[in-house]
Amino acid sequence: MIAIIALVAVVAGVGAYLAVNQLKPSPEISLSPANSSKPIGAVDEAVNTVLQDSASEQALIGNEDSEASLIKSDDQLISDLGQSYNESEF
C-alpha cells in the first residue's frame, strides 16, 4: 500500500514538473543587437540618416580600385610571351 502511494506521488511529481516546464516561456532570442543607448530625437535621427549617405557612398567608391587589377590582368600572358623559347630546343 505504501509502495503504491509512493509510486503515485512520484508519478504526480514528475507530471507536475513536466507541466510547469512546458508552460514556462522559452528564453527569447533577439536577432537585433541590444540597444542600450538612449532613444534619439527626430532631429538627430534625420541628421544621422543624412550623414550615413556619405559613409555609404565612400565605401562604394572604393570599388573603383578594381580597375588597377584589371589593367594588369594580362600580366601572365605577357610573361609567357617573354618565356617562349627554351635553349634546350636548339
Binding site: 530625437g41 527626430a42 532631429v43 538627430d44 535621427e45 534625420a46 541628421v47 540618416t49 543624412v50 550623414l51 550615413q52 549617405d53 556619405s54 559613409a55 555609404s56 557612398e57 565612400q58 562604394l60 567608391i61 570599388n63 573603383e64 580600385d65 578594381s66 580597375e67 588597377a68 584589371l70 589593367i71 594588369k72 590582368s73 594580362d74 600572358l77 605577357i78 610573361s79 609567357d80 610571351l81 617573354g82 618565356q83 617562349s84 623559347y85 635553349e87 630546343e89 636548339f90
Partner: protein
C-alpha cells in the same frame, strides 16, 4: 716472305680503307650539319608558332579587358545611382517626419532651411565625388592607353627580333657555318631579345604605382568632400536643434 706477305695484306687493307675513312670523316660532319639544320628549322617553326599563339592570346585579352572596363564602370555607376536614389528616399522620409513635427512657424522655417542646407550639401558632395571618379577614370584610361602602346611596341619588337635571329640561324646553317657557332649565336640573340623585352616590361609595369597614385588622389578628394559635407550637416543640426530644442 710469309711475314712480308702479311704486312702487304695489312698495308693493302689500310690503303683501301683510308679513303673511306677520309670520306666518312668528310660526310659525318656534313650529315650532322644537315641534321642540325633540320632540327633548327623544326624548332624555329615551333617557336614562331608558339609566339604567334601567345601573341594572339594577348590580343584577345586586350579586347576582353576593354569590354570589362566598360561593363565594370557602367555597373559601378548604376549601383551608385541606385544607392543615391535610395538615400534620397530615406532623407525625404526623415524630412517629412520633421515637417510633421514642426508646430511653430520658427520650427517650420528651420525645417525648410535644414532641407535646403542638406540638399545643397548633398549636391556639392556628389559633384565633388563625381568629379573625383571622372578624374580617376580618365587618368586610368590614359595610363592604360600608354601601357597598351608600349606593350604593342615591345611585343612586336620581340617577335621581330626572335624571327630575325631564327632566320639568320637558318641561313647561317644552310651556308655551312659550324653548328656550334650557329647555335651559340642564336642562343645569344634570343637571350638578348628576351632581356630587352623584360627590361621594357619593367618600364611598362610602372603603371601599377601610377594607378595607386590616382586612387590616392581620388580618395583624398572624396574624403575632403565628405568632411565638408559633414561640417555642413552638423551646422544644419545645430540650427535645427535651436528651433526644436536640444532634446530633439
Amino acid at each position: 716472305m710469309k711475314v712480308n706477305s702479311k704486312q702487304t695484306i695489312v698495308l693493302a687493307a689500310i690503303i683501301s680503307v683510308f679513303p673511306l675513312a677520309i670520306l666518312a670523316a668528310q660526310e659525318t660532319p656534313g650529315k650532322a650539319q644537315e641534321a642540325f639544320c633540320n632540327r633548327l628549322t623544326a624548332a624555329a617553326s615551333r617557336l614562331e608558332e608558339r609566339i604567334s599563339e601567345r601573341y594572339t592570346k594577348i590580343e584577345q585579352k586586350k579586347s576582353e579587358k576593354g569590354t570589362n572596363f566598360q561593363t565594370g564602370r557602367q555597373a559601378r555607376s548604376d549601383k551608385l545611382i541606385a544607392a543615391r536614389d535610395s538615400w534620397d528616399s530615406k532623407r525625404a522620409e526623415q524630412i517629412a517626419k520633421l515637417e510633421a513635427k514642426a508646430q511653430t512657424d520658427s520650427q517650420k522655417q528651420a525645417v525648410a532651411a535644414f532641407k535646403e542646407a542638406v540638399s545643397a550639401a548633398v549636391s556639392a558632395r556628389r559633384l565633388a565625388v563625381d568629379n573625383a571618379i571622372t578624374a580617376f577614370r580618365t587618368g586610368v584610361d590614359q595610363l592604360a592607353e600608354q601601357r597598351k602602346i608600349a606593350l604593342e611596341t615591345l611585343t612586336a619588337n620581340y617577335r621581330s627580333e626572335v624571327s630575325a635571329a631564327l632566320q639568320k640561324a637558318k641561313t647561317s646553317c644552310a651556308s655551312g657555318t659550324a653548328a656550334v657557332t650557329v647555335r651559340e649565336t642564336l642562343i645569344t640573340e634570343l637571350k638578348a631579345a628576351r632581356d630587352k623585352f623584360n627590361t621594357g616590361r619593367q618600364e611598362v609595369d610602372k603603371i601599377g604605382p601610377a594607378v595607386e597614385e590616382l586612387a590616392k588622389t581620388r580618395n583624398q578628394a572624396v574624403a575632403a568632400a565628405v568632411e565638408s559635407y559633414k561640417a555642413a550637416i552638423e551646422q544644419a543640426r545645430v540650427d535645427l536643434k535651436a528651433a526644436f530644442g536640444t532634446n530633439e
